[in-house]
Structure formats: C-alpha cells, structure tokens
C-alpha cells in the first residue's frame, strides 16, 4: 500500500493508519519506553521524600521553522526548562499532537526528529503521547503540547517570592535573541536578520548552578515578555526592589540594531534558552564561575541587586546615571515608525 505523503483524517482514526504513523514516525525517533509493548501509560518509580515537579505547555508557533530552531525543539526545550528552573531534574515528557489534515509527512518527520534530538541533548525521554488529526483549517498545520515530570532534590527551594535584599540578579547570556530571530520569521518586513534563536535546554546549566549554590532563591527562563517581565514577577511576588544596571545587561549588537530599526526594546523580547536568577550575595561569584564554565552560560553576568524599597518595582539605572522604572508591558510590542 502506497504510503501517503500528507496527513489524512485516517491517520487520526485510531486504526491501522494511526498505528503505522506512530511506528514509522514517532517511535522510530522517540524510541520505545520499555520492553512491555505500548501501554496507555508510562510508569516509573519514585524514591520517597523526593518532590515531583510537573509542568505542561502548548506550542502553536507560526512559522514552524525559524532561524535556530523549530516547533519541536521549542516544545521539548520549553518544558524541560520549566522543570529545570524549579530545581528539578527533568525525567520524562509526553507529546500530544494535533495535526491539520494536509500537513506534509516530511514536515512532521522533521519536527519529530528535532524533538528526539533535543530530548537526547537534554537527557530526557519522550515516553507517552497522543496524536489527533483535524480537518483542514481547524488547526494551523500543527499544535503541540508537551508535559513533563522531574524530581526536585531535598533542600532545593526555588520560588519567585524568595528574593531578599542583598541578593544579586544574574542573567545567563545574551538577551533578546529569540525575539529578534522571529520578529520577521514570516518575512513580511523584508529584513535580513543574522540572529539565531537561543533555544536550548537549560537543565545542564541549572545542575552546575545548584552544585555551586543549592540555595538559589529565584530562577525563571525569560520567555514571553522577556527579561523585564520575569524580573517584575520576582519583584512583585517577593515584595522587593530590583535595581539593575542597564549597561551590564548583555545584548548582541545586531539585536540592538533590530530594536533600533523597529522601535523595540530588547528587554521585552522573548528568550528560549536564557535564564534570570536571584542568588544570595555571598554565593554570587561561585555561581557565576560555574555558569561560565558551562556552554549555556558563557556570557553569564551580574546585572543588578535586590533592595528593600521601593517594593515591587524594577529600577533600571541608565548609562547617564538616571534611573527609570522598568515595568511590564500590556500586550506584545509591535514595530513602530513613530
């Protein structure tokens, strides 16, 4: 029987076509979870006293492929990172797909391969999943959901409300790369932007950070809304003031160029492989050293400190010595000509 080159409604029916799709594309790249055949669930043992971390995320990006990544890489990275920044060792992921009828099988295979590669890089397995097919027009090519579980070791307590005056604010690398890379991913603005998304798993980096300092206070990856949004969450939830030095925040020259051209602010651009952390003052040097030794943290640096007042505020000191409030935006930034 000739293999169809696009997704059809039959692939979602649960019958033979579905099984063929799972075997020939999904299992081929994700591998079988264990020897007991395909069950409806994946099982694993948990030691007593460990805390389970559990997260979920859906991915509906358009276009599916962008400079430095694709929806698959994003889906695995996003969920791995959500676990990792909570101090968890990510263990396994689920992968649910909603495919639009007519999606090219080749595209699906590329995305799945990308997920498998990224999962391997991150040291996690994709152990369970679901595949549905909807009629043409009912989904934008492909929607993905990944959920993930991990284990948080005893003694690790990372939360957005733990920032304390005297702590230092760190960032793991260049800010705004992902946002700049995708700002013209659809080619509408006709810009040739030589920037790749920073999309990468951060669990390896988190591991070395925790080894240097088990008592990290706050960590988040600066995804939608960018660095400014994440830091505001910390300031708000902890009731403190974050004082930042604008000149210390690392931004690539070319990302600055994109921002100048379109009237955007790099601090609000999304990142998919960069984290912000708030660490106790006396642990700052060790943590930074450990980060810089890791490939995902080469450009890690200190960008500010935590103060008591004014509470729930992020202040940015400009190179002119003036200070301004760095607030959250309501809605997305749009390019402007004004």
């Amino acid at each position: 029987m000739k293999r169809s080159s696009t997704i059809t409604l039959a692939h979602g029916s649960g019958g033979r076509a579905t099984r063929e799709l799972i075997d020939s594309v999904l299992l081929k790249h994700f591998g079988k979870p264990d020897q007991s055949g395909l069950q409806d669930q994946a099982l694993f043992a948990v030691e007593a006293q460990a805390r389970l971390a559990f997260t979920t995320d859906s991915f509906v990006v358009n276009p599916l492929f962008f400079p430095g990544g694709d929806i698959g890489k994003l889906a695995v990275t996003g969920t791995v990172n959500d676990l990792a920044v909570g101090g968890a060792t990510p263990l396994m992921l689920s992968c649910a797909m909603i495919l639009e009828e007519g999606l090219e099988l080749e595209v699906l295979e590329q995305v799945v391969q990308s997920m498998a590669r990224t999962a391997e890089e991150a040291g996690v397995s994709i152990v369970t999943g679901d595949t549905k097919v909807v009629e043409r027009g009912a989904a934008d090519r492909m929607f993905l959901n990944t959920s993930g579980v991990g284990l948080v070791p005893h003694g690790v307590h990372i939360a957005s409300y733990r920032a304390t005056p005297g702590d230092q604010v760190l960032v793991s690398g260049f800010v705004g790369d992902h946002g700049a890379a995708i700002v013209d991913a659809r080619g509408e603005l006709h810009l040739d932007i030589p920037v790749q998304s920073d999309c990468q798993p951060l669990n390896g980096l988190m591991q070395v950070m925790l080894e240097a300092c088990p008592d990290l206070h706050c960590v988040r990856d600066a995804t939608r809304g960018g660095l400014a949004t994440v830091l505001n969450e910390f300031a708000s939830d902890s009731g403190v003031c974050l004082g930042l030095e604008e000149s210390r925040i690392p931004v690539r020259e070319v990302v600055r160029g994109v921002c100048e051209l379109l009237g955007l602010d790099p601090l609000y651009l999304a990142n998919e492989g960069t984290l912000a952390a708030i660490v106790p003052g006396d642990a700052t040097e060790q943590v930074l050293e450990a980060m810089r030794r890791h490939p995902a943290g080469r450009e890690a640096c200190r960008i500010g400190e935590v103060r008591e007042a004014p509470g729930q505020t992020v202040l940015l000191r400009t190179p002119f010595g003036t200070e301004r409030v760095l607030d959250v935006l309501y809605g997305d930034q749009l390019p402007r000509i004004c």
Partner: protein, 377 residues
C-alpha cells in the same frame, strides 16, 4: 552603532548639564517659575523618558510633551474607516505597526484581524506595493499615516504604482502637517510655553525655514533637534543661550541630518502627488485648517477614499478625556481624571494613551504617577 553611540556619551551629557545649570541660574529661572520647553515629536518624548533626561535637567526647566505623535492624534473615525475597508473580502489592508492597536468606535485593526479581516503589518509602503503586484486579484489598501517625514515615501510609492499602471493599489491618506499644527497650538489662549524643541525628521524633508513664523510672529525660540540624548540636551542648551543673549530664532542642532532647505527631491515628490486638505481632524485638538493632505485629482485612481467611497466619520472622544489639556501643557498626564484608572494602555480612552509615544502612555509605561519617582544618582 555609528552616528548613534557617540551621541549617547554620558560624559558629554554631563558637560551640557553643567552649562544648562549655569544658564538657568543666570536667567533667574526657578522650580516655581520654570522655563517651559515643549518637545513636539513623540521620538523626543521617548528619548527623554528612556534616558531619564528630566532627572538630569534642573528643576527650573519644565519639559512639556507635545502633540507630535501622528498615531495619538488619529481620530477614531479614521480607524473605523480602516476597519470597514479591511472587512471587505477583496481588501488586504496594510498598515504600520503603530496603528494596529488604536481603538475605533467598534474595534481596533488588531481586533479586526483577530476577527478574520486581512490586515497586514508592513515596515514600508513599498512592501504594500509589492503585495499588490503579487496579488493581482486582491485590492491592496495602504493606510498612510505620519507627518511630512513619511509623506515622500508614500508619494514615491504612489508614483511607482502609477508608472506600473497598477489597478489594485490605493492609499487611505491620513498624512498630517506639523507647521499648521504648531500654529494651532500657539493660537490657543493662555498657552504657557517658552520655547520649542523642534521635530528632527520632519525637518530633514521640509527644512528649517518652515518654522520661521514661530520665532518671528509668536516670539518663541525653536531648535530643530536630533533624537539622541546629546542632541536633546544640546538643543535645550541652545534655547537657553538664545534667551541669555536676547535672541529669538530658529536654529538647527541636527545639521548632520537636516539641511536648512530640507530635501528638494522629497518635497517635489510630495508636491506632485499631494495637496492640502481644507480641514483635518486631530484627536484631542479638534479640527485644524490645512493640517492634512489628500491625493491630487490626477491620482484619484489610487485614492481609497474615492475608490471605496469612504465617507469620513467624525467620532468624538469620550467626555472624560482631558487629552487636549495635556497636549497644550496645562496638566500633566497623572493629573487627568481618568489616567491609570479607566484609561490605561490596555484600555485607552483617549489619543495620548493609544500609542507608546503618547505622553500618557509614556508616563504610564515608565511608571510615573503609579510608582514612586526614581531619583538621579
């Protein structure tokens, strides 16, 4: 970045601040009786907030944020016109990003897009033209907004469309002019502004002589300024020097970009394609004579108003709005009765909150009036 970073040098900024401090003392200005300088352009407002320039300047100088934001002054009725066009099956409505979020009386263009209208954001009118070339079966309408800075680009695009004989490209024109607007502002009674930081990029097109009447008839110095922090500070310094020596002139701080006579090629393109409208409505300021342009009759084929029989609608701002008073410098944004409560960037009621360049949006986004004010080092 060349021609940008050098004009952000903090040391040179300090030099200018010291000069400015000395001059304000000499002129006898105080915080109770400050020298009031209006910056016209939204871009200057943005620079002032981004670099915290108001903190550096002495209290005896007060900066008033003027109406130089073509998005802020976009009347709701015009947005309604755009939305109506976008909702037509055959139309691809193209616009700059700035206009997407401006609320109409029913919805904004962003909301219309979410509801299924074909609205596309472009960086350049040339991109809209390209869309028309690539989609001969669709009608591409470009929403042309902006001051004189943007008019030449739109004009050249219309000329290109004409030379190619395109029949599916048209312009919904909302280009407005600065000099008439400044005059209308200067004519408002009890206006308390002592000098102007003049628009930089409008001037690279129209030249600096267009502002002559402001100094000659209204007795206010005007310095055409660039957009980097050193440019703005130097312009303030130049204004104070004029006052010190009893002069009242139009000066040009932005010589590296603005020739005193402007750009003849750009002016010619504009003159060929556009003519002044009798009246143009400005949100927050009302109707101002000869402050807008429309396509000349020869280019009627490219005029969306003509092609689609758009009847411009007049939609008044909600009566709670105090935009006019803020624009004229009578009150500061936090003093408006609806600032930060009913009127926020998410739910803008009036002109000055709709775009990030508007004075109210700038105040809100930089936390002024909502957070305690930061202090300079």
């Amino acid at each position: 970045m060349q021609y940008v970073n050098e004009f952000r040098d903090p040391e040179k900024a300090q030099v200018l601040i010291r000069e400015i401090q000395g001059l304000t003392e000499e002129l006898g200005a105080t915080s109770e009786s400050p020298i009031r300088i209006m910056e016209v352009c939204g871009g200057h407002t943005h620079t002032i907030f981004k670099f915290g320039l108001e903190q550096l300047l002495p209290d005896s100088i007060e900066l008033i944020h003027g109406p130089g934001c073509p998005v802020c002054v976009l009347p709701m009725g015009r947005v309604d016109d755009c939305v109506a066009l976008a909702e037509r099956e055959e139309v691809i409505l193209t616009t700059f990003g700035d206009a997407m979020r401006v609320p109409g009386s029913r919805k904004s263009l962003l909301q219309a897009k979410a509801d299924g209208a074909d609205v596309r954001m472009v960086y350049s009118p040339a991109d809209a033209l390209k869309l028309a070339q690539q989609n001969p079966e669709r009608e591409v309408v470009f929403f042309g907004l902006g001051f004189e800075t943007t008019m030449p680009s739109t004009a050249l695009t219309v000329l290109q469309a004409a030379s190619e004989g395109l029949s599916n490209f048209s312009l919904l024109c909302n280009h407005i002019t600065i000099p008439q607007t400044l005059q209308a502002l200067l004519d408002t009674p009890d206006l308390r502004i002592d000098a102007f930081i003049g628009p930089g990029h409008v001037s690279m097109v129209i030249g600096t002589e267009a502002y002559g009447f402001i100094a000659a008839q209204y007795g206010k110095p005007l310095v055409v300024s660039g957009f980097e922090p050193l440019d703005v500070l130097q312009s303030v310094w130049m204004i104070l020097r004029q006052m010190q020596s009893g002069r009242c002139e139009v000066e040009n701080q932005y010589r590296r970009v603005v020739p005193d006579s402007g750009n003849p090629a750009a002016q010619n393109a504009v003159a060929q394609v556009f003519e002044l409208r009798e009246f143009c409505e400005w949100r927050g300021l009302g109707s101002i004579a000869q402050s807008g342009v429309q396509l000349r009759k020869e280019y009627a084929a490219f005029d969306a108003e003509h092609k689609f029989r758009v009847a411009p609608q007049q939609v008044a701002d909600p009566k709670e709005c105090q935009c006019g008073e803020v624009l004229q410098g009578r009150i500061k944004p936090p003093q408006c009765r609806v600032f930060g409560t009913a009127c926020t960037p998410q739910t803008p009621l009036g002109a000055l909150m709709v775009s990030s360049e508007g004075a109210c949006a700038a105040y809100y986004n930089y936390g002024i009036g909502r957070h305690p004010e930061p202090q300079a080092a």
